[in-house]
């Protein structure tokens, strides 16, 4: 294999990591508070706002129900407005982030669901405000579950980012399609698959380690 080819593979790997990092980071930044909101605004919860809860839930469900490949194409005008282009890794990061936000939110909500209501009650009995309950009880107690959710998100983003290659997104998926599929080069195809497998294994192991560290149960 030529050194140019190796450089191409290396660049594609970095591109994939870049897309996963950007979309993973921003979707956590937005999805985590959204997940907490989905939980605390439920009826009978500490900041019960049933109507707001309904609205958030519907928006989240819409986001979750659009197939990624369609979402990618559908929001091209928005992507162009945001990053000035609809191709390349920055452009691909936009739909990746948008797809991941409701995903993260639901996983965070599920993690919060696992907390015993008794803990919230105990904090209320101590005179904790809703914000104190979120910061000192809910998020720390759900840390293990949230970590699990974020690991699932990152792994999903790796495979979604490969899909972004189909529409000129860059990264390993793009490489695999252009060189492996279109030029019929099975070696390149194999290498991209192996790199993706290794990447997913790595993220999963890292996630598992962080979950173990934060879980005291």
């Amino acid at each position: 294999m030529s050194s140019a080819m190796i450089e191409l593979i290396l660049q594609a790997t970095l591109d994939t990591l870049y897309m996963v990092a950007i979309s993973g980071f921003i979707s956590t930044l937005v999805g985590l508070p959204l997940g907490v909101m989905l939980y605390v605004t439920r009826p009978r919860q500490i900041l019960a706002k049933p109507l707001l809860n309904q609205v958030l839930s519907i928006i989240t469900n819409i986001g979750r129900s659009i197939p990624f490949i369609i979402l990618m194409v559908a929001i091209i005008p928005f992507t162009r407005m945001l990053v000035g282009t609809s191709i390349g890794i920055n452009a691909a990061s936009v739909p990746l982030t948008i797809a991941a936000i409701p995903f993260v939110a639901r996983l965070v909500e599920a993690a919060l669901n696992e907390i015993s209501p008794g803990l919230v009650e105990a904090a209320q009995a101590m005179g904790a405000t809703p914000w104190q309950i979120i910061a000192k009880v809910l998020i720390p107690e759900a840390r293990g579950g949230i970590m699990t959710g974020l690991t699932i998100t990152v792994v999903t983003l790796v495979s979604y980012s490969a899909m972004a290659g189909a529409v000129g997104g860059g990264g390993l998926g793009d490489l695999g399609i252009r060189y492996g599929y279109n030029r019929f080069n099975p070696t390149i195809m194999m290498i991209t698959v192996v790199i993706l497998v290794v990447m997913v294994q790595g993220f999963q192991s890292l996630g598992d380690y962080l979950v173990r560290k934060s879980d005291r149960k």
Binding site: S116, G118, L119, E121, A122, A123, Q124, A125, M126, G127, A128, T129, Q132, K136, V137, P140, E141, R143, S214, D215, R216, K217
Partner: protein, 352 residues
């Protein structure tokens, strides 16, 4: 220190297709707990105990009535004033409710953090508390590493961290074994004694009431049906439910063969079976032999027990009185005139 006036709590649950359904968890409950006392509320599950205790710190907001803690009307407080007054009311729970991701130290420190206290003040408060509950060596462990009794000790230390004047105990010993229960009760008694904290506890165990309470209320179907000194409650409960609790606790029920033979009404050649309850002086008086001599009845003792409830002694006996109807009537009058409670359980036919 704690006063509930005509507190009612009604839950409305709506079922699809039918009208909303109202559940009256508390009906006009009134209760006064003087400063420095331990008051128990006993009742069966579903009687409204949990709702009652949660109305004190407004974890449940009463539908009507007023809740006064330390001369403060709780139901009229703003959210922030309510949170401030909750700092003066500690609470412990059946399932401890410790944060699993915090160490023992940090769990006890939590209420102080919530009050915005500085790190070194927190430290100065937490360490002596852990010493008091006997867990100073466990400060850096996590709740998962502790036994049930130890977890409840941490919960007690946490409840006391904000220097409350009132401690609410929600079935605090129900998840613990008998030995651990008695050590936790002892700790609660010490806290009441040394710190003068007023304790309101709810339980379904007579043992808890017997060993630490000064006064007790009986709750049934959302109503407080009885309120008395513990000594009185254990010697002369005024309600049927109170008697059932007491009999269950003392395990003094007639043998099964006897119950099967019991007739409701006296007939020819029957003898009454009575349950005698006596306390105070009557315990040390040889009443039965006097009864035999003075009323000329024979007494066949089927079961007997002496219990000490705090500083009082309580005697219980199930006996059959053998004699003519006039003699046995007289015997019962004789017993009643000596401050014994006589309850006729039924009548048995003599075999001989």
């Amino acid at each position: 220190m704690i006063e509930l006036r005509n507190v009612s709590k009604t839950y409305f649950s709506s079922h699809k297709g039918s009208r909303t359904h109202a559940v009256h968890a508390l009906k006009n409950a009134s209760l006064t707990v003087p400063k420095g006392t331990i008051h128990g509320v006993i009742g069966l599950s579903g009687a409204g105990k949990s709702t009652l205790i949660r109305c004190v710190n407004l974890l449940e907001r009463p539908t009507s009535g007023s809740v006064i803690v330390d001369d403060q009307e709780m139901t009229r407080l703003s959210r922030s004033a309510l949170n401030r007054s909750r700092h003066r009311i500690g609470m412990i729970f059946q399932h401890f409710n410790l944060l699993t991701t915090r160490t023992v130290f940090d769990n006890v420190a939590l209420p102080l953090e919530l009050m915005g206290q500085k790190r070194h003040t927190v430290r100065d408060r937490v360490i002596p508390l852990l010493e008091m509950v006997g867990l100073a060596d466990k400060a850096n462990q996590y709740p998962a590493q502790l036994s049930g009794g130890q977890k409840q000790r941490v919960a007690i230390a946490r409840a006391l961290a904000s220097k409350p004047q009132v401690l609410l105990c929600d079935e605090a010993t129900s998840a613990l074994d008998p030995q651990t229960t008695s050590s936790i009760l002892e700790l609660l008694r010490d806290i009441n004694h040394q710190l003068g904290i007023t304790i309101l506890l709810i339980t379904h165990e007579m043992e808890v009431v017997k060993s630490i309470c000064h006064r007790v209320s009986l709750i049934s179907d959302g109503e407080l049906v009885e309120d008395s000194e513990v000594g009185d409650f254990f010697t002369a409960p005024r309600t049927q439910l109170g008697r059932e609790f007491l009999n269950d606790f003392l395990q003094l029920t007639p043998p099964k063969e006897l119950i099967e033979r019991l007739l409701d009404a006296p007939g020819d050649n029957t003898h009454p079976v009575v349950r005698l309850t006596f306390s105070g002086d009557a315990v040390s008086t040889p009443l039965i032999s006097r009864l035999a001599r003075e009323c000329e009845v024979d007494v066949s003792i089927l079961q007997a027990k002496v219990e000490s409830i705090q500083e009082r002694t309580l005697g219980l006996m199930i006996a059959e009185l053998l004699g003519t109807p006039t003699q046995t009537q007289q015997a019962m009058h004789y017993l009643e005139s000596h401050q014994l409670q006589v309850e006729v359980l039924g009548h048995v036919q003599r075999n001989d």
